[in-house]
């Protein structure tokens, strides 16, 4: 891992288009400002990992699970 030391107000560049600026450092909390092109997604890592895991879990449900959802929708309709 590349390790760089930066002060508040200083930046690092990743490639030509992504700039990360340290806005403020207070104790163990660092505030970062990120400038990136629109097609570069920026996420907090734990949110992105959770979403990845949720998508993998949701992907390609079994026929039984699909039937269960369909039945849930149907019984909701019947109880209307």
């Amino acid at each position: 891992m590349l390790v760089l030391t930066r002060r508040a107000g200083e930046s690092v560049m990743i490639g030509d288009n992504v700039t990360i600026t340290v806005l403020e450092a207070r104790g163990d909390v660092i505030r970062l400002g990120i400038q990136a092109p629109r097609d570069v997604q920026v996420h907090r890592e734990e949110v992105y990992r959770e979403l990845q895991a949720a998508n993998r879990e949701a992907a390609s449900p079994t026929e039984d699970a699909v039937q269960a959802v369909t039945k849930m929708l149907r019984s909701a309709e019947e109880s209307d």
Binding site: R38, D39, Q41, H43, R44, V47, Y48, E50, L51, Q52, A53, A54, N55, R56, E57, A58, A59, S60, P61, E63, D64, A65, V66, Q67, A68, V69, T70, M72, L73, A76, E77, D80
Partner: protein
């Protein structure tokens, strides 16, 4: 819902997901599935309550998705303007919101934190993370009407 879809039995969708359905291009791939850029929306339920968002490249990859309104009437997330740009959106009224469902035999949940937003004119879509919304990734689904 005006999205053009065909209704067909569920078992057929495993083999033939989409003949004739319009292709949806992901502006950004779904997290966890970087190689899948093109999908079709296959209707699974006559009322338009359940769809299979099915990969064109690999029809075995599909996500169950649903319009959120019947299940989460209070759910009205604000979509950032950067999403309009990514989807080439000219008219925000043409955006369609779908939540990704995790189907379990005992419990079914919907991902409210990251809905799929589809522009019905450009047919571009993106799973949008509603950062800072505090919305859950796994909200238990019940139909409220």
């Amino acid at each position: 819902m005006t999205t053009r879809t065909a209704s067909r039995p569920i078992e057929d969708t495993m083999i033939d997901p989409s003949l004739g359905l319009p292709t949806i291009t992901m502006a950004v791939p779904m997290p966890g599935f970087p190689a899948h850029r093109e999908f079709v929306l296959v209707r699974l339920n006559d009322d338009g309550l359940l769809y299979a968002f099915t990969s064109v490249e690999d029809p075995e990859l599909r996500f169950l998705v649903a319009p959120p309104e019947p299940f989460f009437p209070e759910y009205a997330p604000e979509i950032d303007e950067s999403v309009f740009a990514a989807l080439n959106t000219k008219d925000p009224d043409r955006l369609l919101l779908m939540v990704v469902i995790t189907a379990g035999v005992n419990e079914t949940t919907a991902n409210l934190l990251a809905p799929i937003v589809l522009d019905r004119d450009s047919m571009r879509a993106q799973q949008v993370v509603l950062s800072g919304s505090g919305l859950p990734v796994r909200a238990i689904m019940n139909r409220t009407y």
